[in-house]
Symmetry: C2
Subunit: 460 residues, 2 copies
């Protein structure tokens, strides 16, 4: 510990290094319920790439674990501190370095909040699409490290699709520039892409260059109410089959609707058990046609009620309600949040199986979904203080993970593996693929100091 | 050689192994002018993943180089045989395994020709966008290995954006499945993405799962003629600034126009020195508006003539003419094809600098470009049999490579590094990034047998 402290104080100003237990406690874990963590040995708040490199070089030399941290909004434990670790918080590296309208790109430090980047881009008539529910708080560095998604990804893709290049501090403490700033490029291995979703295990991202789009056309909102999950699932399949390309296609089940109603009195659950929210942003008449196509698909699948919302305030309120689901459920207990992604055609079956699993384990599993992508967020809600229910909830959580793999899907669509999905990942990937992960990890982080013990087990 | 042959005959039927010099000569190189190659020791034509794995395992054990080959249409020497190598030709693995309309994906063997996949998708009302000029001949395996682009990539992205997952034979001869079949996923490192553009140096791709789009709306074609490259470059900038998102934005310079005219008598060079071809596929009225926006941008930049083509046959002929440029130039001599990609705002300056370089080296450099992406294909045309001109051409080629790096661009936008861009790559990437390449190569191909000596130098 003395070597750690004296080393850190050599490379950083004293006011950038924290070791007091009260000061470091707020940096010990992210928002994943039930993921293990310890207090870190120290928290550092670097202000420059050079400071990050100096910290990592020191830690590599001393064999000290390094855990990168954005806003701590992660849901898998990826940012949780491990024993004896230094947490590198990027909150002081929050500068938008440049927004280039002619090139349609932005250079940002990792600590920039997603919504802040989006707002800054909007001032230039530009748009950064990835829109995780955490966008008011989560940072670009964290978004890149988990390959964050969001509702608009059904049409516009995930964070990976917007990352052109980055500056990274490697496990050796070297500063490298990966990727490019041009629209296309295939000069060597896609190392920038390799860092996306690597959850801080291969390098610390100190700057990101993202691709931007022009401001998009206005969105129309289409709402559909359904009696049950199968009919909502059919509606999603009908939309896909219709050829329409909605810019959002979200599902909210009855548990979620009621939880929001109980809290906010929005009357969401008055008209049905399952709500589908779609948006269409094709320009002009084409967008109107598309919205009508989506509504017809809802009706064909047996919607009890459907409407193209003509009231923008009402439409915005519905999407705001979707963002309220998580806090509304958190009022009821600990929430174990799933993030499975399954083939679109399997969504209905998987939702039915999740209801079965909930019954078999006597737990409540509420569900929201980026339904158009097959990305489901079943949330196991465990009453506070009930240890037995907690154990049943964890068992149900793992059954849902297995269900995703068995359905030809993946254990994580957009939240990352962190700690909570490690068992599932080892089931999803073959031993040979896990060995490739270890070989690459060892190649880029030979000291094994970067976020150790996360994502995949270090030994086979 | 005896160990090689007896080993190959143990794992493959005799009619799948060729060693006769006449038989293997057609597999010794791709279409890159001036890239070195030797006759391979053997060519194998496996029919299954198991056969590929057996070949690689044998070669790994014996230390025999393995060079993967699609249709051999590459322009960088990536598929060129090296001394003592076994070339694995995927021409017999050309099956479209499945096209799934509901999931909007296809599973294909690597030897499927790009246009064949596109035609098969069209029968299902689906679309595989990447459209390299080689699409009538080039294969998906090669497209993935070079991250191929094409005209429509300015709106729809490159091959990487469509690769969901793949089956790969690693350098150890193991068969692994990488990536996923779901719309989203972040379960572990993006190893499928790492294989895209790796030019066969990290594994042999034996099956690819690609994302598809729904059939797109009809395209409008807008043509603009310009007196000189600077005004055409300004037109491209005007289009980008307008917010229009054309589905193609191609530039053809006077050398190319004249070469096609001299061959095909199309009259392309009658109206101007530089042609811009744009397409707009936004649906309905929005597409009409977009086409008009593009035309206005052309005019604002000083087009001598512009037109929205109302004659589909004429429009198709113009894009066909663009594809005739390469064979038209090849009639005039050896063509050293560049593939640099520069920031969009640098296009005009870079085009002017290329003209200077041509003058300084007394060579002809013709130019086509995916102008909307900043992806330029300057082509140095060297008269046949003129060794001195050949040397001047190679010198000019390397100056253009350096120019791309100096302009903040990359040495290859969509053709790959192969052999021809190795010097440029080492200039573009820092020594630390090259070391990361070597570490990853060593991690996944410890015997160093997969396409050795390509992309980056094996030692620093």
């Amino acid at each position: 510990m003395t070597a750690l402290m004296s080393g850190l104080h050599e490379v950083l100003p004293a006011n950038r290094v924290f070791t007091d237990p009260d000061a470091v406690a707020g940096y010990a874990h992210d928002e994943a319920a039930g993921a293990p963590y310890t207090l870190p040995a120290a928290v550092v708040r670097p202000t420059s790439t050079a400071e990050v490199a100096a910290v990592v070089a020191h830690c590599a030399a001393e064999g000290i674990p390094v855990v990168a941290r954005g806003a701590g909004t992660g849901l898998s434990g990826g940012a949780n501190a491990v024993a004896g670790s230094v947490v590198v918080s990027f909150e002081a590296m929050d500068r938008i370095v440049a927004i280039d309208r002619a090139e349609r790109l932005a250079r940002v430090q990792p600590g920039v909040v997603n919504d802040d980047l989006r707002a800054a881009c909007a001032e230039h008539g530009l748009w950064y699409p990835p829109d995780p529910a955490s966008s008011p708080w989560s940072t670009i560095g964290g978004n890149v490290s988990t390959n964050a998604g969001g509702p608009c990804c059904v049409k516009y893709g995930v964070t990976r699709d917007y990352v052109l290049g980055m500056e990274v501090v490697t496990g050796r403490g070297e500063v490298v520039r990966l990727g490019r700033r041009t629209a296309k490029g295939v000069a060597g291995y896609d190392l920038a892409g390799l860092m996306v979703g690597a959850e801080g295990t291969l390098g610390l991202i100190t700057e990101v260059t993202v691709r931007l789009r022009g401001a998009r056309a206005a969105e129309r909102t289409v709402v559909g109410c359904f009696d049950d999950l199968p009919s909502a699932g059919r509606a999603v399949a009908e939309v896909v089959a219709s050829g329409a390309q909605p810019s959002a296609l979200e599902l909210i089940d009855r548990f979620c609707l009621r939880a929001v109603d109980d809290w906010k009195r929005m009357g969401l659950s008055a008209d049905g058990n399952v709500l589908l929210l779609a948006r269409c942003d094709a320009p002009g008449v084409a967008g109107d046609d598309e919205a009508e196509t989506v509504r017809a698909a809802f009706d064909a699948a047996g919607a009890t009620w459907s409407e193209r919302s003509t009231d923008q305030a009402e439409a915005d309120a519905l999407f705001a309600a979707r963002r309220l689901v998580y806090p509304a459920l958190a009022r009821l207990g600990a929430v174990l949040t799933e993030d499975i992604c399954v083939p679109r055609t399997a969504v209905t079956d998987v939702l039915a199986r999740i209801e079965q699993i909930a019954g078999e384990h006597d737990v409540r599993i509420a569900c929201i979904a980026h339904a158009g992508d097959g990305n489901l967020h079943p949330m196991v809600v465990v009453p506070p203080g009930d240890d037995e229910a907690g154990a049943r909830g964890r068992a149900a959580f793992e059954r849902v993970v297995d269900l995703a793999v068995d359905a030809g899907g993946t254990v994580t669509g957009e939240h990352g593996v962190g700690l909570l999905k490690m068992r599932g990942l080892a089931r999803e990937l073959s031993p040979a693929v896990l060995a490739m992960h270890r070989a690459i990890k060892n190649a880029l982080d030979p000291a094994g100091i970067l976020n150790p013990g996360k994502v995949f087990p270090a030994a086979g």
